[in-house]
Subunit: 441 residues, 2 copies
């Protein structure tokens, strides 16, 4: 196997882990729909026989119970990876990603949505992590050095071509090409704007919220976010306190986490309007293309943001067509990974709608920063009205944690997708055997 | 346990089975997106300590690989069933179904879509099967004897109330109430109209298609369906042959199984228009609310049908709002079971759009007939332009197989939801240990 005639390296391992963090104990991450999440990851490590010691890491983000289902779904994709030619699979990531999405048996379990789609995300992202590590560069840099034609080849245009053909996507990318180098330099110097959700969890006391909001402003954030949607009286009080705390110039986004129906959303938002919310996030179901459009019309000029639970590029496309949103909130690990997110970044550029990624959870900040930075350099070419969410939880579990300073994400420099958890984390937080789940309370 | 003081019976068992049928060997079920399905079921049996020997059976329909993921998702719901009070859970099936949908951790894996939602379908349907068996009546009869108020209590109106409030749903049901008894008698006498897809699988030769189409007409079907979307030349030839075979008065539906983008759909349908397709089914992605509406406008008066892969009531609602379809094709096991299908039947009634259920697969005919018959008696009050799909495969595996005679479904009379597979089927087709998967070929 290791003799001179060996030319092809293959994927030889595909290991999954059910990793859960007991975040419900402190109400970090609590919102109107998710009162007690235990941030979790269905985590994947892909190994090869290349002998270079490099592995690809990826995961689907979950919030506790059911992570074992997500792990089972990732395992169902092992047959499409193990045994494959590593160089060939990584060189044509468009075809590789489509081989997962197009498996007709697995497609029946979606199609292109839910558990099976998030599993594809984990695998696709793990392969991109490996490709970037082999290239010795961070993923954002790898992607934003690719030729427009190569980038277009990554995208599955099925169900998109009524609003974006490959030629139109190519045009977007070519338009951004001349400025790439200058924007890369600027990114390395000054980073990418962030906003923080750390103050706003619904389970926090007013005092804790105020203290964290003050800290956020002191740290240089120009935008914070509050969770709303539990009780209107509480929301009015918290919104007023937050506005008094941060003053008129800091943007306060609010996030209902899908809590409302259409009419209820409009009434609730209008009640909070006196304190000038910058955007309202997930006012209703992520499946509500028409509902979001109605709410947006009714509450203008307050803006609408959504996307962390939008299942795929097909729904994002229609939200852009229908005028459902002012901000596209991509999530790194819900749609089918890097490839589908590139499709969504291109769609947003065609419609000239800013992308403000969803992050937080565990590892989502680490992942999604790469996509926003790629967007800046190679797609939209701007950070105008664009911010990446930041939440200050659980970064210590990663080998290359996201770094936010003065309210901005620093461009990650380590090779890969920043997806790799520390080995001791995988050991201590594995559910239910890990030491974190076997403490006396 | 069985003494005189015992008053509460509990769910004590929750057994899942990965059951697969090797249908790909004969190309039964082959279409443009699914060339080689192995019809499968993630199958559930729920047992109690009531001592009456009755169990609830339910399943999610899958097509082979990945059924183990679906089984894992059903298992994730065991904790909400085992140990619960049987009478209380079955008496308030609205609250019971919502307890599954509203679990915030599991909801993150959808929300309300894909593997996790289909798992809820299996559990909800198994509980309805048990409730109908305990009542000693077929499910259609149980449902259509319920008071309008009870039926409305089964529905989750979240995300629906911008187009249908509980009051409006109640009005629909009350309007249908006076004619219930007469329609029940009529149903028992003459059954419910069916159409057949048996002739139309894409993998069949022209000769087999023609022979089966002739048989369908001879058997009394007024509508057949052909799979299309593989190759336009083939589709034109098959459509022409089918029309020549059945003559001008038999309706020929065509089914693209999501194969096309919007523009391609319009061009393809126009090429087949000379042979007067009655409806075009799944011309594009089931997520395409706007795309279906565009196609429908462009190809009118040819009609559009979709729904077997529509993930939930929220998407159906929008399709009705947007004018995306002429026929609502509910599936018994993709949305969250009986309860969510009642919501969809009510929505369709509010918009006055006929419901023509999807069936076939394994067990879908058995299940969905109950919903269509309930619709006839208690909701829409009519069979005008309504037909239930019928496919003549795999019925022999059920204790109470669907019976179609003279092109009509006979109302099932056995107690329950007709969901129960024969014990020897569960034994022989369990994957991968069953004898059906261990034959010398």
């Amino acid at each position: 196997m290791d003799g001179g005639s060996r030319t092809v390296s293959r994927f030889v391992s595909f290991r999954t882990h059910d990793v859960r963090f007991p975040t419900s104990r402190t109400l970090d991450g609590s919102d109107a729909m998710n009162p007690d999440p235990d941030y979790s990851a269905a985590y994947l490590i892909v190994g090869t026989d290349a002998g270079d010691g490099l592995e690809g890491h990826g995961f689907a983000f979950t919030i506790g119970r059911g992570t074992e289902v997500q792990v089972a779904a990732i395992n169902a994709l092992a047959q499409y990876v193990v045994g494959c030619d590593v160089d060939a699979a990584l060189a044509d990531m468009g075809a590789t990603a489509r081989s997962f999405v197009d498996d007709s048996h697995l497609r029946w379990l979606g199609p292109e949505k839910g558990v099976m789609h998030m599993a594809i995300s984990a695998v696709v992202n793990a392969l991109w992590d490996l490709r970037a590590k082999r290239a010795g560069v961070p993923l954002w840099d790898l992607l934003s050095r690719m030729a427009p034609e190569e980038i277009v080849d990554l995208v599955d245009f099925r169900y998109l071509d009524d609003v974006m053909t490959p030629e139109q996507a190519l045009e977007v990318l070519r338009r951004a090409e001349p400025g790439r180098a200058a924007r890369r330099d600027q990114l390395l110097r000054s980073g990418y704007p962030a906003y923080t959700t750390t103050p706003g969890w619904l389970g926090y006391t007013d005092e804790k919220m105020i203290r964290l909001a003050e800290e956020a402003v002191a740290e240089g954030f120009g935008q914070i976010k509050l969770k709303v949607g539990g009780d209107l009286g509480d929301d009015i009080r918290r919104m007023r306190l937050a506005r008094e705390t941060v003053g008129p110039d800091i943007r306060i986004a609010i996030d209902a986490n899908q809590r409302w129906g259409v009419g209820e959303a409009v009434r609730w938002i209008e009640a909070l309007a006196p304190w000038s919310p910058w955007w309202v996030e997930e006012p209703t179901s992520p499946d509500e293309i028409l509902g979001h459009a109605t709410i947006r019309r009714e509450v203008a000029p307050i803006k609408i943001a959504t996307g962390e639970h939008v299942q795929n590029r097909i729904v994002f496309k229609q939200m852009l067509q229908a005028g459902s949103l002012d901000f596209v909130q991509i999530d790194a690990a819900r749609v089918a990974g890097v490839n589908e997110n590139i499709a969504i970044l291109l769609l947003a550029a065609v419609f000239d709608v800013p992308v403000c990624p969803h992050a937080g959870g565990v590892g989502l900040c680490e992942l999604v920063q790469h996509l926003a930075m790629f967007d800046l350099i190679a797609v939209s070419g701007t950070t105008d009205n664009r911010v990446i969410e930041y939440v200050d939880h659980l970064h210590e579990h990663f080998l290359s944690p996201a770094v936010v300073k003065d309210g901005r994400y620093a461009a990650p420099l380590d090779p890969g997708f920043s997806a790799q958890m520390r080995p001791e984390t995988l050991q201590n937080y594995v559910f239910p055997e890990g030491s974190a789940w076997n403490v006396d309370e």
